[in-house]
């Protein structure tokens, strides 16, 4: 990847943490590689922040181990771990100036004045706050506060930087910018970043790898596109992006070129559809079928050329949602099931999209674009 990998790897093994009867973490194991931008993604209460706090040392697990560069860090207090945290609420010291906030860790270690000054200025420059050094945190905007917090967390030169939803308090535009900024910082510094977020688009856009969590369990660990294109469970498919998801039963599974052509019986669609998949599934097995809305094609007229691995449905547009670069349609199929379709507007349109409310449309997708999610239990 060309990055200078200076960070440490973090190994979380069989970690559990319960608060009373609530299991915040249920036997979680994750291996985070050296220098990786790793995201913990999940809805609130899924245990991602608990895991971060355990790595930082603010909480301790009921059982399990956390290794930093191969060494057990659980017996160490937070101030003895080579890990620093950027807090969701910024957690700046209100009585200290921006400069003193960033200098705080160095002053604790009694770094000589000249060296301290040079280093603080360096890090303030890194986050572009050279002109705000003497201000109190209360005089800064949200984005500036967050950058002070980042500089302060980095100045100790930690091996791992923990970020606890650092952008959630900022508005959407600023969030995008700071996200790019964080990504550049990560490239520059080359240490391990562990990023906690509930926002799937944030996680998808910057992470090297993502762990999707729900109810204290890790559901899937993978690269952003693995998680988006090949979700491991129903939950992951629904949580990451938008999707059409239907319970299905395997009707037939035959080898087809390099993979298998599976015929699924989907009660919700009232018909059988075809999907290509790598797995040879047993007939009668209960699975979930998912297809992303942007992979569906929507046309006002019947497509002329329909191959044998194209799934085609007729329906009526219940709700067209135009948002500039794309339109989203809720299409009601003949049996009443509603399916989401996203159409990208790649061409110039003088008169807007040619599909309108209550239009009769045809929705189709190729067998290759669907995905079968194996139902693990129930």
């Amino acid at each position: 990847m060309g990055k200078r990998l200076k960070g440490f790897d973090v190994t979380v093994k069989d970690v559990s943490r319960a608060y009373g009867s609530f299991k915040a973490l249920d036997d979680v194991s994750i291996e985070i590689r050296k220098g990786e931008f790793f995201s913990l993604l999940g809805p609130s209460g899924c245990g991602k922040t608990t895991l971060l706090r355990i790595i930082a040392g603010f909480d301790s697990p009921d059982n399990g181990v956390v290794l930093l560069d191969g060494k057990d860090i659980l017996p160490l207090p937070p101030d003895k771990r080579q890990v620093n945290t950027v807090f969701q609420s910024y957690a700046l010291f209100p009585h200290l100036s921006v400069y003193e906030n960033v200098a705080f860790p160095l002053r604790l270690r009694k770094v000589p004045a000249a060296k301290l000054d040079a280093k603080v200025r360096d890090y303030l420059h890194l986050v572009q706050l050279d002109n705000h050094m003497d201000k109190k945190p209360s005089m800064l905007s949200g984005g500036q506060k967050q950058r002070v917090a980042i500089a302060r967390a980095l100045i100790n030169e930690p091996s791992v930087l923990l970020l606890d939803e650092p952008l959630s308090a900022l508005d959407a535009k600023l969030r995008q910018n700071l996200l790019v900024e964080l990504d550049h910082l990560h490239d520059q510094i080359g240490i391990t970043f562990i990023y906690v977020t509930h926002d799937q688009s944030e996680a998808l856009s910057v992470s090297d790898r993502i762990a999707v969590m729900n109810q204290g369990k890790v559901l899937q660990i993978g690269t952003p596109y693995e998680i988006y294109e090949s979700p491991a469970t129903d939950f992951v498919a629904r949580f990451i992006g938008e999707t059409n998801l239907f319970p299905a039963v395997v009707k037939q599974c035959v080898p087809y070129e390099d993979y298998y052509m599976t015929t699924l019986d989907i009660p919700a669609l009232g018909t059988e559809i075809k999907v290509t998949d790598y797995d040879n599934l047993a007939v009668g097995q209960h699975v979930s079928f998912t297809v992303r809305p942007e992979k569906l094609k929507i046309t006002g007229h019947q497509p002329t050329r329909v191959g044998k691995d194209i799934n085609l449905f007729r329906g009526i547009v219940e709700e067209p949602i135009y948002s500039g670069f794309q339109s989203k349609y809720y299409v009601s199929l003949e049996n009443g099931t509603v399916i989401k379709v996203i159409q990208q507007h790649a061409n110039y349109m003088d008169e807007g999209p040619d599909i309108d409310w209550k239009d009769q449309v045809f929705v189709s997708w190729s067998a290759e674009d669907g995905y079968i999610v194996e139902v693990v239990d129930s």
Binding site: D79, V83, L108, N177, D350, E351
Partner: protein, 310 residues
């Protein structure tokens, strides 16, 4: 799409003609705050009020309120320079000031009493009030809500009732009325104010700051001394200032619990008025006003930092 390529280009051309050419915005790699904005956005001074009319309702009200507040003071200050005792202006004189400074031993003794009580009772009240605010905020226990409500009682009860009940209490436990009883009474009624101010400060206190300090390498002791204490200090200091003022000016409660030889300044002024308003009081008023103004100016910087850091 529905339009032919030709129509499309025509439409684009029409649009380009209509719209003035915009400067192309280069996407910056890193966000930068817009130039000139420093901290929260403030309206320019001349736009703060929408009503610009000279004799608008708000301006008239402003003048009236200020006049109502300051006219009495103005009268008092003016008559402190009057040559005669009465309310008729007979000429300029500094005799009342001379009398105040060189012939008012009793008054200065009362002033000293007030000062001693104000300082001691406010320091003790600040100490106890701050600790109780921290305790109530930090530790969760059953009687928390009750303690909070009860501690506000001295603030809402009429002073007369507090005064009488204290008098009865002191007599019952045989504490002689005097400086000590006044000190106890003042400490008691100052406590809730300090408690309230420090609580308000703690309400804004972000507890992740403690974790941040630990995370950045501070030990528990360093976290307490370098983070927690300094960040609640503004609340503690404003509590102290409030307590000093309240103690200095209290009349009603002090009236009930004072004894021989423990006359405070407000009590002394009251006793003077009983024998007719002496212009010495007018002179004293100006001296006090000036003294407090100087104090306020001195603390202005400090108060500003309180406001800025909250």
């Amino acid at each position: 799409m529905s339009t032919s390529p030709k129509m499309k280009s025509a439409a684009v051309a029409a649009k380009l003609k209509k719209q003035p050419k915009k400067t192309r915005l280069e996407p910056s790699r890193l966000v930068e705050a817009p130039k000139g904005t420093q901290g929260p956005y403030k309206l320019p001074k001349n736009q703060m009020f929408q009503d610009h009319r000279k004799f608008g309702f708000s301006n008239i009200m402003l003048v009236l309120v200020i006049a109502f507040l300051f006219m009495p003071l103005f009268v008092v200050v003016t008559y402190s320079f009057n040559a005669s005792r009465g309310m008729r202006w007979t000429g300029f004189s500094l005799q009342w000031y001379y009398k105040l400074f060189f012939d008012s031993k009793e008054l200065w003794r009362a002033f000293a009493n007030s000062f001693v009580i104000a300082i001691t009772s406010s320091i003790v009240a600040t100490f106890l009030g701050s600790l109780s605010a921290i305790g109530i905020k930090w530790y969760k226990f059953k009687s928390r809500a009750y303690i909070q409500v009860v501690s506000f009682l001295p603030m809402v009860l009429p002073e007369v009732i507090i005064g009488i009940s204290m008098l009865i209490f002191f007599t019952a436990v045989r504490i002689p009325l005097g400086m000590f009883s006044i000190f106890v009474a003042h400490t008691t009624f100052n406590l809730p104010f300090v408690f309230l101010l420090v609580s308000a400060r703690l309400e804004e206190f972000d507890f992740s700051v403690i974790e941040a300090a630990r995370d950045l390498g501070a030990t528990e002791r360093q976290t307490l001394m370098k983070v927690i204490v300094p960040s609640i200090m503004p609340g503690v200091m404003s509590g102290l200032l409030m307590a000093i003022t309240m103690s200095l000016e209290d009349f009603v409660i002090t009236f009930f619990v004072s004894g021989p030889g423990s006359t405070t300044l407000p009590l002394y002024v009251y006793s003077m008025i009983r024998y007719g308003v002496s212009p010495v009081i007018n002179a004293l008023s100006l001296v006090l006003i000036l003294g407090i103004m100087l104090l306020a100016l001195g603390f202005r910087r400090f108060l500003k930092t309180i406001a800025a850091s909250s």
